[in-house]
Symmetry: C2
Subunit: 337 residues, 2 copies
DNA sequence: CATTAGCAGTCGTGTGTCCCGAGTGCTAAT
DNA sequence: ATTAGCACTCGGGACACACGACTGCTAATG
């Protein structure tokens, strides 16, 4: 693969990514002043096709990159575009506002990435299984109303408003919560239920039904709706690849199915940004799509991932750069200061 | 308009709502055993068309209800279907979990309604302008980290995690918050900023920049993203009316634009469920759609609305029934106990 | 030997034509 | 008032055709 072939492949991929239509030899030579005639380019393209980097939708059309072509482009030719100074600052600023509430963080991240890249984005909430209880606090708002705040050793915070049952209304709620907090400190969240059954005593035990329910809801990060955030699906309508409504339905269905996303993301283990192109994506519902994923960390441990989905013809360079920046900021936001 | 005409109009609307295709005289007579021949029905339909209740997409097709036809159906013929016992219980259960956090409430409601009705749903957050500060509390999680909880007289609660600036780290945060809370109790949220500038004294004044920012963020219910919840857009793909991608884009754009939704909903003042059919909807982007809206209350005052959008051919009866039930439950959840 | 011009060949797409069938409106019979 | 019968209308699918974009090949060129 000589220099000129590489150059042609690069230009072809980029033109196709931008234009969305098969690229012909004439276009290529005229548009990018390659200094050679279309015929020469045709010869080169024939070679590239034979080697599997290009495809021919049909005889009388221009060429399109194959998965292998994209792969070569991403691995060998792509240079990461530097992001705008102002864009980076925007990303940083958007994490400054409030930080530790998981639901907010993942929604914010999904929205941010889908806004910047114009591709749909899914963010998986951080794994919380290994987290341990670091503290439990209560704010009493009214005789029958309180806010409980749970804090983990990895720095997550969850709060819930709870109604106080009548039989507890006279008692010293703050003291009870403090006692629970002391008793259970250091217990992994997933063992909380067991630990409570075993360790609660006295007054606490008498009301353990109430406490159990409240704390379970706090610890499990409740409803699935808070375990995954999806944003930017509307942008799909801008890509001719998704003009077909049936296809749109399949892809959207996939993105909204937590188990599928989970399966796809949990098997990626590396801490770096990864790119899956076309058939490399192990999911039947999203044929002819590409996926870029990144990990984020809490401390030095990878705790979650996010994913950007687009047509195979996607702006890999920009997406990769954005994901690197965002996952970096998200990790920083999760750092336990 | 005699009984038989009414019956024909009713059946035609319902068949068209279910099938989505213009209804012919033959279909009508065969499918619903009207006891008269297609020819008779044709005559009746011709009359109904002349009176403006029906339309003819083209000469050789069946009839379709006009806006006036739907309107007559909704006002005169529609009988509200009773909802399943189990469905009602499901609705009630979904509000039992946690209650007073606005963002959660409106998202939950949007999701609930769009799941039940299979139409996209928008919920506007309650107006908060008239609410007054009822209390402010703090939970200190770490030297530099605290959760602030704001409570209004109408029962809303908002909480935010905040980083405590270094210069405040030694001081008695709880006392400061209690003092602010006392000082500002009863102040309408929209005047908080002014009131703080005027009333803060001593230590509090010295750090008023910090307090101002924190409390403003609490009171303004922050980002727009929390002022409106949208759910169920994917269900649009199931209606042939939205097969056209351009149209889909327009309608989605409308639903995602808070100002448009606001304009549409704020002008509806009644506390009951209202139906807008086709051209009755005052918005150019959503031609050929219908909208059902309902109000919800906090106490005895209407504080917000929600909206279900569908093709003109929508299941008015069911949507109305669901909105009545849901807005009732939502109002109950907002009641200040 | 690499490059290029020229030309025949291929095939998707847009356009025009035709036919079918569903459904109507009208008229005359009941 | 209702119904049967029939001519008529019109949208949509099937088919054919021409256009044009692009290729692949061959032969000429430096």
């Amino acid at each position: 693969m000589d220099e000129r072939k590489r150059r042609i492949l690069e230009l072809l991929v980029e033109d196709y990514v931008n234009m969305g239509e098969p690229v012909g030899s004439r276009t290529l030579s005229r548009k990018y002043q390659l200094g050679v005639s279309p015929a020469t380019i045709r010869n080169e393209m024939a070679d590239l096709e034979e080697q599997g980097y290009l495809e021919h939708p049909h005889t009388s059309s221009g060429r399109v990159p194959s998965d292998k072509g994209y792969r070569y482009y991403v691995d060998q030719l792509l240079e990461r575009p530097g992001l705008d100074r102002s864009l980076i600052e925007g990303i940083q600023a958007s994490y400054r506002a409030k930080a530790r509430e998981i639901a907010w963080l993942i929604h914010q991240t999904a929205r941010l990435v889908s806004d910047i890249t114009a591709y749909p984005t899914v963010v998986l909430a951080p794994r919380g299984e290994d987290a341990r209880l670091a503290g439990l606090s209560v704010v009493i708002l009214a005789p029958a109303l309180a806010v409980l705040v749970l804090q983990t050793d990895s720095g997550y915070i969850e709060s819930r408003t709870v109604g106080v049952p009548p039989e507890l209304m006279g008692s010293d709620l703050a003291a009870m919560v403090a006692e629970i907090s002391n008793t259970l400190e250091g217990v992994p969240l997933r063992d909380l239920e067991n630990a409570m059954v075993k360790r609660l005593r006295g007054d606490l035990w008498r009301h353990h039904g109430f406490w159990l329910e409240v704390i379970q809801r706090l610890a499990s990060r409740g409803d699935d709706e808070e375990r995954v955030a999806l944003s930017g699906t509307r942008s799909m309508l801008n890509y001719p690849e998704f003009r077909d409504v049936e296809r749109l339905k399949r892809v959207l269905g996939f993105l909204e199915t937590e188990s599928e996303i989970d399966r796809l993301l949990r098997t990626r283990v590396s801490g770096r940004v990864e790119v899956l192109i076309g058939t490399e994506v192990p999911a039947d519902d999203i044929q002819d799509c590409s996926v870029v994923t990144a990990a984020y960390r809490a401390g030095d441990q990878v705790v979650g991932r996010l994913l950007v989905l687009g047509p195979r013809r996607m702006h890999y360079g920009r997406v990769i750069a954005v994901l690197e920046a965002v996952s970096e900021e998200l990790s920083r936001a999760l750092e336990w200061a």
